[in-house]
C-alpha cells in the first residue's frame, strides 16, 4: 500500500513540476512539440514510474530513483563562466570529428559557430530547428517515439526543450564522424531532459558517436531520447560511449526507422554509470534493410546496466543481428531483453540475437530474456543467451605459459569483450574504444588519454 502511495505522490510531484513551469517549458517551441506534451503527460500518469510491475522494466526498477530525487530542473540553459571548450578537449590523435557539444541537455551554440559541414547538412539545436526547419520537425517529431507505450518516452515528450537536430540531405556522405558529446555539469543535483532528432536522407552515409560524460560529481538523472530516420540506401553507424560517474542514472531511448536497402550499425559501450537503461527500438520499414545491433557493458560496484531492444521486422527480406555482452564484477547487476517481432507479411526475414555474460563474482547478477514473436513461417530466427564465468581451464593454460593470473584474467575478459568491439567499423574509433575498454577492465580511469576532463570521479 505504502508503495502505491509513494508512486502516486511521485507522479503527482512530477505533474506539479510540469504544471508550475508550463510556460517556461513551452516558450520558444513550436506547436508540434508543445501539443505533444499534454497527451504525453496523461500517458505518463497512466503508466506511472517504470518499475518491476511493468513487464518492460522488470529488470530495472526506477521507482526508488524517482521517489528520492528532488533534483533541480533547468528550464533554461545554465550560464557557465568558463568556456566548455577549455574544459573539454577530446583530441584523440588523428581522430578528427565534427564536434557537437550538449551541456545538461542544452545544445551548446557557442561551439557550433563557424563550423563547416558538407553542403545542405544542418546541425543545430532542436530549439532553433523547430522554428527554422518547421517542416522537417513537423514531419518527423514524435513519429517514432510513442509516448503512449513507454513512460520514459512520455516523460521526455512532456519536458523536451532542446537537444540536437541533424539533417543530412539525400546523397550526402559525411566522411568525418559526428561526435556528439553530452556533458553533465552542475553545482547541484540535476535532472536533465534531452531530445534529439536526426534525419538521414536517401543514399546518405554518416557515422555518429554519442559520448556521455559527467564533469562534476553531483547526482544526475538524464532522460535522453533520440529519434533517427534513415532513408533508402543509407549507411549509418551509431556508436555510443557511456562514461558517466556512478551517481548518474542514464536513461536513454533511441528510436530508429530504416527505409529499404539501408544499413545500420549500432554499438553501445557502457563503461561507467550508476543506473544505465538503454531502450533501443529499430523499425525495419523497407525491404532489404539490415541492422547490426551491438552492446558491451562493463559493470562493477553497485552499477546496473539494462539493455532493452525491440526490433520490428515490418517488411520482407530484412536482416537484423544482435550481439550484447556484459562483464559484471562486484555486486553489479545487468539486464538484457531482446524483443523481436516479425510481421505476418515480413517473409524471408532473418533475425538473430545473442547475449553472452560473464559474472566475475557470486554477488553479480544478470537477467536475460529473449522475446521473439514471429507471425509467419518463412523466416530464419535464432536466439541464445549464456551466463557464465571466466573459463578456469583457459586461465590455467595462459598461466602455464608464464602469464600471471591477473594479466591472464584480463586477456580473457578482453577477448570476451572484443567480439563486440570488432563491430566498430571506424578504425581509429575502434582503437580508441579498445583502449578505453582495456583501461576499464584494468580498473584504471577509462578516459581518453589526452582529455582534460576527469569524468569518473
Amino acid at each position: 500500500m505504502a508503495e502505491i502511495i509513494d508512486k502516486i505522490t511521485t507522479v503527482r510531484r512530477i505533474g506539479e513540476i510540469y504544471a508550475d513551469n508550463l510556460a517556461k517549458i513551452g516558450e520558444g517551441m513550436s506547436e508540434t512539440v508543445n501539443n505533444a506534451r499534454q497527451p504525453a503527460f496523461r500517458a505518463f500518469q497512466r503508466m506511472g514510474i517504470p518499475g518491476f510491475k511493468n513487464e518492460n522494466y522488470k529488470y530495472t526498477d526506477l521507482t526508488r530513483l524517482f521517489e528520492n530525487e528532488n533534483f533541480r530542473r533547468s528550464f533554461e540553459p545554465d550560464q557557465f563562466e568558463v568556456s566548455l571548450k577549455d574544459v573539454f578537449s577530446c583530441d584523440v590523435p588523428e581522430f578528427d570529428t565534427h564536434l557537437i557539444l550538449v551541456v545538461n541537455g542544452w545544445f551548446d551554440d557557442s561551439n557550433n559557430q563557424g563550423k563547416s559541414y558538407p553542403e545542405g547538412v544542418i546541425i543545430k539545436s532542436l530549439r532553433k530547428a523547430v522554428i527554422e526547419n518547421r517542416d522537417l520537425v513537423e514531419k518527423y517529431y514524435g513519429k517514432l517515439a510513442n509516448a503512449e507505450s513507454d513512460p520514459l518516452t512520455a516523460l521526455n515528450t512532456v519536458f523536451a526543450q532542446d537537444g540536437v537536430f541533424i539533417y543530412i540531405p539525400d546523397n550526402t556522405h559525411i566522411t568525418k564522424p559526428l561526435q556528439l558529446i553530452n556533458i553533465l555539469r552542475s553545482e547541484d543535483d540535476l535532472y536533465v531532459t534531452q531530445r534529439n532528432l536526426i534525419i538521414a536522407g536517401k543514399n546518405t552515409q554518416a557515422k555518429i558517436m554519442f559520448c556521455d560524460h559527467t564533469l562534476l560529481p553531483q547526482n544526475f538523472i538524464v532522460n535522453n531520447l533520440t529519434e533517427f530516420e534513415i532513408g533508402e540506401d543509407a549507411v549509418i553507424d551509431i556508436y555510443s560511449i557511456q562514461n558517466q560517474h556512478n551517481k548518474t542514472a542514464n536513461l536513454t531511448g533511441l528510436y530508429i526507422r530504416q527505409q529499404r536497402n539501408s544499413q545500420l550499425v549500432t554499438n553501445a559501450i557502457s563503461l561507467h554509470g550508476g543506473i544505465i537503461r538503454n531502450n533501443l527500438s529499430v523499425l525495419l520499414d523497407g525491404e532489404h534493410a539490415e541492422a547490426k545491433i551491438c552492446g558491451l557493458a562493463l559493470s562493477d560496484k553497485n552499477q546496473h546496466v539494462d539493455n532493452y531492444t525491440f526490433i520490428e521486422h515490418h517488411k520482407p527480406k530484412c536482416r537484423s543481428n544482435q550481439l550484447y555482452k556484459n562483464i559484471l564484477d562486484d555486486s553489479s547487476t545487468g539486464g538484457f531483453t531482446g524483443r523481436i517481432h516479425v510481421a505476418p507479411h515480413a517473409i524471408k526475414t532473418e533475425a538473430y540475437q545473442r547475449n553472452n555474460n560473464v559474472l566475475l563474482t557470486n554477488a553479480a547478477k544478470m537477467n536475460t530474456k529473449p522475446q521473439l514473436v514471429i507471425d509467419n513461417d518463412d523466416v530464419k530466427c535464432s536466439h541464445g543467451a549464456t551466463v557464465g564465468r571466466i573459463d578456469e581451464e583457459a586461465l590455467f593454460y595462459l598461466q602455464t605459459r608464464g602469464i600471471n593470473e591477473k594479466e591472464a584474467r584480463l586477456m580473457l575478459m578482453f577477448a570476451f569483450a572484443h567480439e563486440v568491439l570488432a563491430e566498430v567499423k571506424v578504425d581509429q574509433l575502434r582503437v580508441m574504444i579498445d583502449k578505453l575498454v582495456n583501461k576499464r577492465l584494468r580498473g584504471e580511469v577509462s578516459k581518453c588519454h589526452s582529455c582534460a576532463m576527469d569524468c569518473i570521479r
Partner: protein
Amino acid sequence: MLVIKDLYAKVEGKDILKGINLTVNAGEIHAIMGPNGSGKSTLANVLVGNTNFEVTHGSVTFNGKDLLAMSADVRAKEGLFLSFQYPVEIPGVSMVNFLKTAVNEHRKYRDQPPLSAGDFLKLMREKKAMVQIDSQLTNRSVNEGFSGGEKKKNEIFQMAMLEPTLAILDETDSGLDIDALRIVSNGVNLLKTPNNATILVTHYQRLLDYIVPDFIHVLYEGRIVKSAGKELALELEEKGYDWIKKELGE
C-alpha cells in the same frame, strides 16, 4: 634439475600420487608410462601448478628452488613447460598477442627488455619454420578451431618460442596421425640440447620410436614401480602392463 621426493597428491579428495620419487638431470629424456588411471597426467599437472590438485606430502625442487611454492606462471618463467594432452581453445585471444605476452613476461622475469614488434615477428617466423606449423594458424585465436594434430603442433611451437629447460609432454602422441607424429617428434628432437630435459608421458611405445628416451619409468597406482632403459618400452609393448602387476605380486 628436477628432484621429486616422496610426492603425494590428491584430487577431489582422492589420493592419486602415493610417493613419487624421480630425478631428472639436464640432457636427459625420461618417459613415464603406465596404464590408464595410474597418475601420469596428475603428476604432469601437479608439476606445472594446477591448483585442482592438492599436494599432501613430499617435495619438488627445480634447479634447486622449491617448485611447489611457486605459482603456475612463475614455474613457467623458471623454465617449466607442459604440452597439454587436450590444449584448450581460447576464442578472442590471438596467437600473436598470446605469445607476445608470454615471451615478454619471460623476458621481464629475466630482467630483459621486451622484444620489439619486428624482432618478435622474426622469432615467430624462425620457430614456425622449425616446427613446421602452418603459417595461417598463428593468425587465429589460440587453438580455436584447430584440429587435434594442429593443437599438438601448436604446443610444440609454443615450446619452441619459450625455450623451457624442462618440457613435460603429456600424451603428445595421442590423436596424431603418422605424419603429424613425425613433425611433432622432429620438433621436440630439434629443441633438445645438453642443457634441457624432457619428460614424455605416454601410453604407447609408438612415440618412443621417434623420441628416444634415456630412462623409462612405469607408474602404477600412484607410484613408480619400475625404472629401466629404453628397452623396457619394447617389453611393455609386447607383454602389456599385466606383467608388471604380476611382478608386484598382484
